[in-house]
């Protein structure tokens, strides 16, 4: 009970802080407007980034490399299972964003994959022709509702985020993630907090394994790796909130007078 109260207070604080820090005295809740996201805690963020980077080098990357060497069906099964678990967060967010039809489709996907698909290890729904699955989370929902991103933050272990997205993550712990609820508070003999944490760790390792080469390449060819990752993370979140996987050129270059000025030079 106390834990929930603390999380609620932090959440309210973060959201309130978000509106102020992100707005810099201007309106924070403007929709469809590309905002410059401030790196208010850059020194601290860079320190956390350095810590995460070291942790990645000594622990996460070697594990991801080992995971990459596992037989393909095991990797594929793990990816499918953690993706299936993420549907439990996506469905309520589909509803909160007003996409009831997508929520129904994703519920069908979850049922089929969890049962016929052997606890989600086989993506049967995909083979049956279900529409492509797109993850949603509470940070995206807040963004969709018009809540500004606030400052950019780097979280220990978890990596890049914004104040809004961090607040969104707290909603999971507040009961917004059914998988967290049943495994941590479910009071049953099969699931426990350990199982929940293992699933989250596997999800992280799977993501890192997918990005081994691309992150190495980015690091090698960046003059400021921290700034590159920040830019890519913020662009990616913007695309996800706008549900545009390919990015919208109109958004990328919105308010972009630089090119015009260069052309008219």
């Amino acid at each position: 009970m106390l834990k929930k109260l603390i999380v609620t207070i932090i959440c309210i604080f973060l959201l309130a802080f978000n509106a102020n820090a992100g707005s810099d005295g201007e309106l924070a809740l403007k929709k469809d407007q590309q905002q410059e996201i401030k790196d208010c805690f850059e020194k601290l963020n860079r320190a956390t980034f350095a810590l995460n980077h070291s942790l990645d080098k000594v622990l996460i990357k070697p594990i991801a490399k080992g995971y990459r060497n596992l037989p393909n069906p095991i990797q594929k099964g793990t990816k499918n299972a953690v993706t299936n678990l993420s549907t439990l967060i996506t469905i309520p967010n589909n509803i909160l964003q007003g996409n009831v039809k997508t929520a129904i489709i994703n519920t069908g996907r979850l049922v089929v994959n969890t049962t016929v698909g052997l606890l989600g290890t086989v993506d049967v729904a995909n083979k049956m022709g279900f529409p492509k699955y797109i993850k949603e989370d509470y940070g995206q929902t807040l963004g969709k509702w018009g809540v500004g991103p606030g400052c950019y933050v780097v979280l220990p272990v978890l990596g890049p985020s914004t104040v809004r997205d961090t607040a969104g993550s707290f909603v999971n712990a507040l009961g917004g993630d059914p998988w967290h609820n049943v495994s941590v508070h479910g009071n049953n003999e099969f699931l426990s907090e350990k199982v929940f944490l293992t699933s989250k760790a596997l999800s992280g390792v799977d993501f890192r394994s997918d990005n081994l080469e691309s992150l190495d390449n980015l690091e090698k060819n960046s003059i400021d790796f921290y700034a590159s990752l920040r830019s890519l993370y913020l662009q990616d979140r913007e695309n996800k909130i706008k549900n545009n996987q390919r990015g919208m050129v109109e958004v990328i270059y919105k308010d972009e007078e630089d090119w015009e000025e260069i052309d008219n030079k």
């Binding site: 080469e213 400021d224 590159s228 695309n239 996987q245 990015g247 050129v249």
Partner: protein
């Protein structure tokens, strides 16, 4: 006189028709050139050198350099501009060729194009998946002000703009060094040397 005029106009139209390059064909031919280089059995350094030649011919390096500087470009004097553009070209070519040289025999298919205005066309393409890598969507922002000589101004990979990332990277370096352009010069120089 009228006949001569008609012949001149017709010749001009034919000439323009023959030599104007459609952005999607331009992208596919650029990709094919890069692909050929990457599939050759030559050293990584040789691949990088060959890719640099392709980049010099097809990418608006000066435009991207100006864009990457952001508002800082307004404060540069002529000498600083010259130093910057020399350093930027070396940096860009190394970074560009190094990124690409990691791929062996990539297959990119151009799918469609969207003309935004007379200056820009977006060409949509896909990097075909392999057993180790999923399919990657790559969009090309082509500058078409001179239709005979289109130029690449940005690559948007899975919705992420490389030009925007680079601009934010440069801004971060300048911000961390009180806006001193010399710090950016040094960073670019160090990158090209290493």
């Amino acid at each position: 006189m009228k006949k001569i005029l008609i012949i001149i106009i017709s010749f001009n139209l034919c000439f323009n028709h023959v030599f104007s390059t459609e952005p999607d064909i331009f992208v596919q031919s650029t990709v094919n050139r890069a692909s050929q280089i990457l599939s050759k059995n030559i050293s990584k350094e040789e691949k990088m050198n060959a890719l640099k030649i392709v980049a010099k011919e097809t990418v608006d390096i000066e435009g991207i350099g100006s864009y990457s500087l952001g508002s800082a470009r307004k404060n540069l004097n002529d000498n600083q501009k010259k130093i910057y553009f020399d350093l930027f070209e070396n940096y860009f070519l190394k970074s560009f060729s190094s990124r690409l040289s990691e791929y062996t025999n990539p297959k990119i298919n151009v799918e469609s194009k969207k003309t935004l205005n007379e200056n820009y066309t977006i060409v949509n393409s896909v990097l075909i998946s392999t057993p180790d890598r999923p399919e990657v969507k790559i969009d090309w922002r082509i500058y078409t002000k001179n239709p005979e000589e289109p130029l690449i101004r940005d690559l948007i990979i899975e919705g992420l703009s490389l030009a925007r990332t680079q601009k934010e990277e440069f801004a971060s370096i300048l911000n961390s060094n009180n806006g001193k352009i010399e710090s950016l010069f040094k960073t670019l120089e160090d990158f090209s040397k290493n």
